[in-house]
Amino acid sequence: MNLNWMAWTGPTAIFFIVIACLLLIFTVLGIKYPETPRRGILTIETTRGDRLFITLLGSAFINAGWLALSGLPQWWALGICAIYAVAVFRWV
């Protein structure tokens, strides 16, 4: 299969592989350890999957904001995202 037209690059491939792995892990977790939704600080019911979605979407905006405003290395934004992810999974 020729995928040249999709113009793949290493970093974007890693990006999608990571997201695919995350989805896979959360699917397996969902089957192995079923859960009940809980209410966090957003006062909405969230499951693990919801929290993953909030984390990913929020991380995208954190990265965008970092890129637009800070002018510092982009890697640092990933650190903020990690803190954000922990916070989301702990309190949301």
Partner: protein, 290 residues
């Protein structure tokens, strides 16, 4: 009780999954790939990193297009939602005229976008259009291709003409589902017309109104064809909304990299707004079910 666990039905979803993969996921992945590279055609790409994102995020042009887009969505929501509710309240509840109203209301919804654009483009012209001609006869100098405010007026009016019926039909459906007993109770309590609206009709319409707001927001946020046909994004950039700018960038200048970065940011905003609306809607449903 032991419930039989059988998830095989999920396999029936596979064809849709394949379709969505081809129509949405793979193109989206390609866009992500484009967004970090530069190309001069011929399928030859050069690594660019996050440069395009930085350019898009700090570009004045994109910021102002985003502002115009928000303003447009805000204006049409502020007009269409109250107007739609008002129309729904005025429509006859049953009988011959109810059907006539419903059909008439549905007509604008059936007109394709580019035709709506053409209709209003001609209607507003002073030489051959009825609206333009009448305004001209009244000594009002209406020219949507020169005056930015006039361009906005015609674009907003066009959208209101095209889509208010959708809000009205949804609100009408919401009104129809209210049991008569509520109105009788209100009558016994001698509730005023406003109180009936405020405490019976509005809460009961909440669900459909949220759907109406969501649909209208999404549609207006992605609007392309109508302003493109009527004003072409002009005069200057007065009615260049996000999608018009994006198409200029991607197809007009063939700047695939910046256009891809632009579309990803656009996509993220839409994803965020949709998620917020979806969450609010499902939580309202749960609150009502309790």
């Amino acid at each position: 009780m032991d419930k039989v666990q059988n998830n095989k039905a999920w396999f029936l979803v596979l064809p849709v999954l394949v379709l969505v993969a081809f129509s949405a996921v793979i193109p989206l992945m390609t866009v992500v790939n484009y967004s970090v590279q530069d190309t001069f055609g011929n399928n030859v790409f050069f690594w660019e990193g996050l440069g395009w994102f930085q350019e898009v995020l700090t570009s004045k042009q994109v910021h102002s297009a985003f502002g115009r887009q928000l303003m447009f969505s805000g204006i049409i929501l502020a007009i269409q939602i109250p107007l739609g509710i008002a129309i729904a309240l005025c429509m006859p509840k049953k009988g011959f005229w109810a059907s006539v109203c419903l059909v008439l209301m549905a007509l604008p919804l059936l007109v394709p976008w580019n035709v709506v654009g053409t209709i209003w483009q001609i209607l507003g012209r002073a030489d051959i259009g009825l609206l333009g001609y009448v305004l001209d006869a009244l000594n009002i100098n209406f020219n949507y291709s020169r005056n930015a405010i006039h361009a906005w007026i015609i674009v907003v009016t066009m959208d209101v003409w095209h889509w208010t019926s959708l809000v009205a039909l949804l609100a009408y459906a919401g009104l129809q589902s209210i049991p008569q007993a509520y109105y009788q109770a209100a009558k016994i309590d001698q509730a005023s017309r406003w109180k009936v609206f405020r405490y019976i009709e509005l809460p009961k319409m909440q669900g459909v109104l949220l759907i109406a707001i969501l649909l209208r927001f999404m549609d207006s946020f992605m609007i392309y064809t109508e302003p493109f046909v009527v004003t072409g994004g002009g005069p200057g950039t007065a009615t260049s909304f996000l999608s018009i700018d994006l198409v200029k960038l991607a197809l007009g200048q063939f700047d695939l990299g910046p256009a891809a970065a632009f579309s990803i940011m656009y996509f993220l905003v839409i994803l965020l707004v949709s998620w917020v609306f979806y969450t609010v809607m499902t939580n309202l449903d749960k609150a009502e079910g309790r």
